[in-house]
């Protein structure tokens, strides 16, 4: 059958990559059915109100392969990913749930390592895992272990992270090096030996977010560029807010070794998943102060102002290249790397 038909009738790997097909699946199938204004905001976490308390609620599933990689493992990722999704809604992450689907025959020792890693990550993030579930399915029905975590947090007083507040002339900041996580995960798959400096950046970002919000409670936007990378996240924000963006390629922090892996394998660091980075949008007048605050935190030492929000062209992101040219920075179409997080 042709590709168009295949895409319409079957789930493709690309539907899970965080790019355009993922988007279409979510908006045209899932959001359409579940229908409610909270879901329509399509941020990483949902903002809900219960008896006057302003809370954030989120969930994520983890299928990364290999399960252990330089700098982390599926368990650490499962905790940090959900903690970060709460943090970027402007919330203090409080409680997590952990659901496991295990394959018959999975090594008990490996499971113990993963669970311990989750406990350590939770302690680091200052959250508690308070409920969960474990299912076992027959050999072959899942690949080893799949983990789902959901989380709840309380939104900081006076903070309103909302894509509708993104406006022209605001500054865009990235908290550090791009592409490290994806490269750390995929290097094993492709027979590349990496220098010690490349490890997954997997980390809980709530303490960095706290510093940012203390410096500027009117921070406009926070996102963590996971699947689909920085380019996808910027495109999502631009399109939801109806604004343009101009990014300076020379300001984007990428380690030479990460660039080398990308050159060899034909990837683009701007589309690679990060698990410990933040995109921050603030008003221009306070951007340098926020940058300094970020740089004083261990997870933000290499933060840079990478560009600004613009009026035109609405919904799109432009990149000023190293030679002074300019090009469109599109959203990811298709799949770059399966099972990266």
């Amino acid at each position: 059958m042709n590709q168009k038909k295949a895409t319409e009738e079957y789930i493709q790997l690309a539907h899970g990559s965080g790019g355009k097909l993922s988007h279409d699946l979510v908006s045209q199938v899932i959001v359409k059915e579940f229908k409610n204004p909270i879901l329509d905001t399509l941020h990483d976490g949902a903002k809900i109100s219960i008896g006057g308390a302003k809370l954030a609620f989120t969930t994520d599933s983890y299928v990364v392969k290999p399960r252990f990689f330089p700098g982390g493992d599926i368990g650490k990722l499962a905790v940090c990913g959900t903690v970060n999704d709460l943090a970027v809604v402007g919330a203090k992450p409080l409680y997590l749930s952990a659901g496991f689907v295990l394959e018959e025959g999975f090594y008990l020792d490996e499971f113990k390592l993963i669970v311990r890693s989750m406990a350590q990550a939770a302690a680091l993030a200052n959250v508690q895992i308070v409920t969960g579930d474990t299912k076992v399915v027959e050999r072959g029905a899942v690949d080893g272990i799949f983990i789902n975590t959901a989380g709840v947090g309380s939104i900081f007083e006076g903070v309103d992270i909302d894509v509708r507040r993104v406006k022209p002339d605001q500054a865009i900041i990235i908290s550090g090096y791009l592409g490290d996580h994806a490269v750390a995960v995929m290097s094993e798959r492709h027979g590349l030996s990496l220098p010690e400096e490349i490890v997954s950046d997997c980390a809980p970002l709530n303490s960095l977010v706290k510093i940012i919000l203390e410096t500027d409670p009117s921070t406009v936007m926070l996102r963590d560029p996971t699947r689909g990378g920085l380019a996808t996240v910027l495109n999502e924000i631009a399109s939801q807010a109806g604004v343009g963006m101009l990014i300076d390629e020379d300001e984007l922090p990428v380690k030479p070794s990460v660039k080398a892996v990308c050159d060899i394998l034909g990837f683009d660091p701007l589309y690679l998943a990060n698990e410990g980075k933040l995109v921050v949008i603030v008003e221009e007048y306070i951007s340098r102060k926020v940058l300094a605050a970020m740089q004083s935190h261990p997870l933000g030492q290499n933060a840079r102002i990478i560009g600004k929000v613009s009026k035109e062209p609405a919904g799109q992101v432009g990149l000023i290249t190293g030679i002074g040219g300019i090009r469109l920075l599109d959203m990811l179409t298709g799949e770059q790397l399966p099972r990266i997080c």
């Binding site: 042709n2 590709q3 062209p313 190293g322 030679i323 040219g325 300019i326 298709g334």
Partner: protein
């Protein structure tokens, strides 16, 4: 080794761009032969800073795009063979055949593996002795020697379950055919030549452009500054009404190329007529396996039932590949033909002109 300081890069780029604008005052059309150049030019944002007088058109330099549907259809047929593993470069996955694509076959359960080197296919054959591994050998002179070397290694190792579905093509005959083509509607004033093809063949393989056709050409590298320099040298040549072959990429490309690579290609392959989308059948423009290596040739040693191929209705890839139209001028561009569901290969190949134009939205994007 490359002076990568960003201030230097911007300064050098500025000077080269000014030089191009100064010399490129009258309209001229330059063909970027290689699909990788098309992509790199967009990626560096070069189209936006060139003067309007310079028309950069894409050429037939996308080996996947210039190969007709029957190749992909054969690949699909092999994918459906029981106990077979297809080993392929990643960008072949989405290329549409007459009725299916490798990605669709993979979704439906075929064993298709993306590899980065033909040597990976050799490794797959060794690890899966009970199965047939078929490598999709597509590419120009940059890739053919790699396949040749792999076949020589396979023969030496006595490997008997590795096959190659070959569609290698040669660039110089295609350019000659392009220039002799009576249907060629747009006059080309100069060529940017593919640096890595030339690294193998040597610059002398392209001297005919200067000697026979009196058209200037510059062998160009792929870094943004390489390309700007290549364009500058070419524009200077055109403006001076000269027609020399120049070598911007001299740090990699020599006059005689890589003799070891050429020798291996000649050992394993022989030239044959080949069908190029947009250009028709061109003599001596393709490579087929010599008889001594026939055991590795998929079509003769592992025959499979092939079904009739149809070219996609309304597809203008052929015209895009000869530089006769720009991708947005194809009526299917951006509506019926999209990266998610392409009609022709130019929209999904990593070196496809349509893919580049769609992804970077024509390059002259205003804001």
């Amino acid at each position: 080794m490359n002076m990568k300081d960003s201030a230097y890069t911007k300064r050098a780029a500025g000077l080269l761009t000014e030089g191009i604008s100064r010399l490129g005052a009258k309209p001229m059309r330059i063909m970027e032969v290689c699909g990788t150049h098309t992509m790199s030019i967009f990626k560096a944002g070069i189209r936006r800073i060139l003067p309007e007088t310079i028309d950069l058109v894409s050429g037939p330099g996308c080996p996947v795009c210039v190969t007709a549907n029957d190749y992909l259809d054969a690949a699909v047929a092999y994918a459906r063979l029981p106990e077979s593993i297809i080993a392929t470069f990643g960008d072949m996955l989405k290329i549409p055949g007459s009725h299916s694509s490798l990605l669709a076959e993979k979704t439906a359960g075929a064993d298709i593996r993306v590899v980065y080197s033909p040597m990976d296919a050799l490794a797959l054959a060794a690890e899966n002795s009970g199965k047939q591994v078929i490598f999709l050998a597509v590419g120009f002179e940059t890739t053919a020697p790699l396949v040749a070397a792999t076949i020589l290694a396979a023969k030496k190792g006595g490997v008997s379950n590795l096959y190659f579905l070959t569609a290698h093509k040669l660039v110089p005959p295609a350019l000659a055919a392009l220039l002799k083509n009576p249907l060629q509607s747009k006059k080309i004033d100069g060529f940017l030549l593919p640096g890595h093809v030339c690294a193998i063949t040597g610059t002398k393989a392209f001297e005919f452009l200067s000697e026979e056709f009196k058209i200037p050409a510059v062998v160009t590298g792929f870094e943004p500054l390489d390309i700007l320099e290549g364009i500058y040298l070419l524009v200077k040549e055109i403006a001076a009404q000269e027609c020399r072959l120049l070598n911007q990429y001299s740090r990699v490309v020599k006059e005689n190329g890589n003799k070891d690579a050429c020798r291996m290609m000649a050992e394993v392959f022989r030239p044959a007529p080949s069908n190029w989308r947009g250009l028709g059948v061109i003599c001596h423009s393709g490579l087929v396996l010599k008889e001594e290596y026939g055991d590795f040739d998929a079509l003769s040693s592992l025959p499979v039932e092939l079904f009739a191929s149809v070219e996609p209705a309304g597809c203008r890839c052929g015209d895009v590949l000869t530089g006769s139209i720009r991708p947005p001028e194809c009526p299917l561009f951006g509506n019926k033909c999209l990266p998610e569901h392409p009609v022709g290969s130019c929209m999904v190949s990593t070196e496809g002109a349509c893919a580049a134009w769609y992804k970077y939205q024509a390059g002259r994007w205003q804001f």
